[in-house]
């Protein structure tokens, strides 16, 4: 059994203390970092709750319940930020990516504590694969939300659609890993390839519109 709430306290403690010395300018970064890890902790509880209710086995829990719960939970601190603070578009990007990265980091730490860190090659692949997957899901939400929240007519359907897209990406990743064999390696490379393609498209778009 892993006491993830204890791990959370251990990691959030120094961050909280550091916040006091960093000044107001950095409050947002620390807030989203702790929020990302906090929602990861809560997601673990909610996943277990739904898995018990639906009597789901490990495969069904990871391929169907976890993606929905985790992506919704990741969006909650961001929705709070959007609705309460009405930030500028460039700040939305930063917030989503910090939440996604800290979520992935906390998940990896819990995974390492539960399964050990002896196999470096597997940890490396998993670290990059899962980390990239959460960042891709965050990027889908952030780039989309920046556009969607500028258009009133698109806000509800757009937010729902982006959440759906990130849930599906996450679910497909988990589905391929749960299947094992060669598909597992396709899954690990999928987010990295998506990130690379996204970066290339972004650069092409920038060079066309800002030169």
């Amino acid at each position: 059994m892993t006491y993830i709430e204890n791990i959370f306290v251990c990691i959030a403690g120094p961050l909280l203390l550091a916040t006091l010395y960093m000044g107001k300018k950095y409050y947002g970064i620390f807030f989203f970092c702790i929020a990302g890890m906090g929602v990861c902790l809560l997601s673990a509880y909610i996943n277990t709750f739904f898995a018990k209710i639906y009597n789901a086995d490990f495969i069904n829990a990871t391929t169907q319940i976890a993606p929905v719960v985790e992506e919704i939970m990741k969006l909650l601190p961001l929705l709070f930020y959007l609705l309460v603070f009405e930030p500028k578009p460039e700040k939305i990007n930063m917030a989503v990516l910090i939440v996604a990265t800290s979520f992935a980091t906390f998940e990896n730490i819990c995974y390492l504590i539960e399964n050990g860190a002896a196999q470096f090659s597997f940890i490396l692949v998993r670290g990059f694969g899962t980390g990239a997957m959460h960042i891709v899901c965050g990027a889908i939400a952030s780039y989309g939300l920046v556009y969607v929240w500028q258009h009133g007519w698109l806000r509800i359907a757009g937010t729902f659609g982006l959440l759906g897209a990130s849930i599906t990406f996450h679910a497909i990743y988990n589905l391929l890993i749960a299947h094992g064999g060669i598909t597992q390696y396709i899954a690990y490379s999928l987010p990295v390839i998506t990130m690379f393609v996204g970066k290339v498209i972004n650069e092409i778009y920038k060079s066309k519109h800002y030169t």
């Binding site: 789901a56 069904n60 509800i156 897209a165 391929l176 299947h179």
Partner: protein, 209 residues
């Protein structure tokens, strides 16, 4: 085998429709095409997950809402698209024909609630009923118009065809016969796939009015 063929063909067709609608949006920057791209895109994502799950594990997902989530999102986009294409006069228009929508949908909704998941069925049926309500009203309104405005009827017919086929599909899934060609579920789903693609030219016609 037929289930895989059915799901895979639907994925391919919706992927092509997404690309087609995306190209139309890229060329014209018309809001309606963006909504249509989002509709096809989210529908395609739901079908992709459903197909992959069936392909890898030999059964469809039955515990939680992954595909269902994006399908709900897709109908939200379709509802927004219908609203975007309607004129202020059309929104004020009233006709008793719209009451055919709850008469057709609610008995089937009761069947789904008795046999399936309550939350998902309430959400998806509520949304599809709203889409059908707008389209029935739009169809009656468009048939009373002359000239280019009359072409809007093709869009509303295409939307209503999708909704009717969806309800037939869900109802036939409640009375599952077999995993073979004799099951009407698969034929309805093939028809639905064709109807989904038909929405692309119908929207193009509606936008050109």
């Amino acid at each position: 085998m037929i289930e895989l063929l059915d799901n895979f063909s639907q994925f391919l067709v919706t992927l092509l429709a997404t690309i087609g609608a995306g190209i139309l949006f890229y060329k014209s920057r018309v809001q309606a095409y963006l909504l249509l791209t989002c509709f096809f895109g989210t529908f395609m994502l739901g079908t992709l997950y459903w197909t992959l799950h069936f392909l890898l594990f030999n059964y469809t997902p039955q515990i939680f809402y992954v595909s269902e989530f994006v399908w709900i999102a897709s109908y939200m986009f379709l509802l927004t698209l219908g609203y975007t294409l309607s004129t202020p006069d059309e929104r004020k228009f009233r006709h008793p024909a719209v009451w055919l929508v709850p008469i057709f949908c609610i008995p089937q909704l009761i069947l789904y609630l008795l046999r399936g998941d309550i939350l998902f069925n309430l959400l998806i049926c509520g949304l599809t009923m709203a889409v059908a309500w707008y389209s029935t009203r739009g169809l009656v309104y468009a048939r009373r118009q002359s000239g280019k405005l009359r072409a809007m009827k093709f869009f509303h017919i295409a939307v209503l065809r999708i909704i009717i086929l969806e309800y037939c599909l869900w109802t036939s899934s409640c009375f599952w016969i077999s995993d073979t060609y004799t099951n009407p579920y698969f034929w309805i789903d093939f028809l639905l796939t064709a109807s989904l693609f038909a929405l692309l030219p119908a929207t193009k016609k509606a936008v050109s009015t």
